[in-house]
Assembly symmetry: C2
Homo-oligomer: 344 residues x 2
């Protein structure tokens, strides 16, 4: 059956009350949250001695998601997960989030409650409190904005700027699964690839990415020098790290961790998906060779594979470059660049 | 002359670089900001012993502002000011903000630089750092989202929930000026009221509200018991404080501080503007009678008038009520309620 009411039927203040109730009690309060939803501002006491890590990210309908591809609960999970992923990349512990919903007014209450269930589930899994937010009218498209706060661990964080020549370049998990999942979603539902046994796993990688919080903590502890999360694809994000660190890189295409399902379903496109697909939300990092074995072992302990995919080399000159060792052993410089929402 | 380029001409990453440069250097870095714009997240070290106060607010084109009524620099000022106002209401010190711009792509670069100049000017005035943010495509309307972080003072904050029977109800400044300014903006430019000598002052109150940061600090120090900022109008906001505190109130219409210009230009509507106009961004607060003289004196020291407008009374029963003493001395219960963007 379900509740067929829409936002404009119950109004802003009715909706705020319902959404608050849709969150688990421990997510609404949180042990370090002194004051949650309902006042002019929320109040949070960070752990003494720790720094506060701040990130913000948005998902806009038709730009970042499509309702015919995602259910509302997954959308709620993803909107918080992509913010947590940024905190994970700093080696930080997620703590508090505030949420702004931009709504047209014709959204179904049941759908927004499902969104909040997804959000609340991820918040709970990572020990975060939802401290409130804002609901505004958005004339054309649903828009979801989150600001997430985390804490440093032992006062330290990882940045993009620490990579040094001689470092090994590593990634967690595999690359290209999310982009492959998105391609599968775009296929007709009777396409044989869509019906492959492995398709659901790739689609899940796209709809419900799992932020690498424990992996980020390991990187910080085990001596990684630089880290960032992969949201714009390896060839979009690695150059940002190289530029921030003032170095260049050599990548070995033969060592890129790409799931067998991605290679099998996209035999002509898997390398492109791995290099430029985006939205993997894996961690890209660098570490000196002597720290590498410790990182791999600790990652294995939490069930995460860390793969060496290349090496940091000195900056050749005026700009950072990425040299690729192709599957046939040949070498050439790769064009770099991230997806630009307003690309000229 | 100016720069006629638009967002889609220079792209997301070009815009991020330009906007960063439009901020004063001390706003980009900030003394307590360890890491600013450019990494996965920003890093900030709060003052040891202080709590973190978190608020978020959005302005959406055609809903919260109109380009034919505001210039871009004022819009930048206001978007940060309304967030600072929430921190001020908690008695907190503003520290860090992150900004998300939702853009169509056809915005002029020069306009966005003006927006950031306004933003940067207010940030600097209140000692805030801009720690980065996000730029996303917004299909139909320009949308501006800010999350602002502040700090408690001496570990304490003011909330809405502290009002007690017997407290004096006070407000800073005057009520209704912003709503009067908005009405003036809606008039034809040759309307005699629009051309009144005082019109510009009221329009400025609407376009560039000044958050009451120092006044909030005084309220905390001088023993106010509850505070909130007036964004939805006195009759929208006071009931929220009463409900949070479990009390009722008596207001004296004869004591409402309404600027002479508002009374003169809107002789039939000034009381309605003062009660329900909204966007005053003054502080509404309660204090025990013995704290009142100290508050008034300290406010006078910073050039802010604090006016007693009523009294907190015990909750009559199941729900909070507001009784009004009218200009003729008669008493009656007032309908309460805030503006609801999705009102049924």
């Amino acid at each position: 059956m379900g509740d067929e009411r829409r936002v404009r039927d119950i109004g802003e203040f009715g909706l705020i009350a319902l959404l608050g109730e849709a969150l688990p009690a421990d997510v609404r309060s949180g042990e370090s949250l002194d004051l949650g939803i309902g006042d002019d501002a929320a109040v949070w006491t960070p752990t003494p001695g720790e720094r506060v890590v701040i990130t913000t990210d948005s998902l806009v309908e038709e730009i970042h998601f499509r309702h015919d591809w995602t259910d509302w609960e997954s959308l709620g999970e993803k909107m918080l997960a992509v913010n947590i992923s940024d905190l994970a990349a700093m080696g930080a512990a997620p703590k508090v989030a505030v949420i702004t919903l931009g709504l047209r007014g014709d959204e179904r209450i049941d759908d927004l409650l499902a969104l909040y269930r997804g959000l609340g589930g991820v918040a709970r899994r990572y020990g975060m409190a939802i401290a409130g937010g804002d609901i505004v009218r958005s004339p054309a498209a649903l828009a979801l904005h989150i600001t997430a706060l985390g804490e440093s661990r032992g006062g330290r964080v990882l940045t993009r700027a620490g990579a040094r020549a001689g470092d090994i370049i590593g990634v967690t998990g595999t690359l290209g699964a999310s982009a492959a999942g998105m391609r599968l979603l775009a296929l007709a539902s009777d396409d044989p690839r869509r019906r492959a046994a492995t398709a659901d796993l790739l689609i899940a990688a796209h709809l419900r990415p799992e932020p690498r919080v424990a992996a980020g903590a390991i990187l910080l502890k085990e001596g990684a020098r630089a880290a960032m999360d992969l949201s714009d694809g390896l060839m979009g994000d690695l150059p940002k790290m190289l530029a921030a660190s003032g170095v260049s890189a050599t990548l070995d295409a033969r060592r890129l961790p790409v799931a067998a399902a991605v290679r099998a379903l996209f035999p002509d496109a898997w390398l492109e998906l791995a290099l430029r697909g985006g939205e993997d939300y894996e961690l890209l990092f660098t570490a000196p060779p002597d720290a590498w074995p410790g990182i791999v072992e600790a990652m294995a302990g939490i069930g995460v594979e860390a793969t060496a995919i290349g090496e940091i080399v000195p900056d050749a000159g005026r700009s950072t470059t990425v040299e690729m060792i192709e599957p046939d052993g040949s070498r050439h410089e790769l064009p770099v660049g991230a997806f630009d929402h307003f690309a000229p």
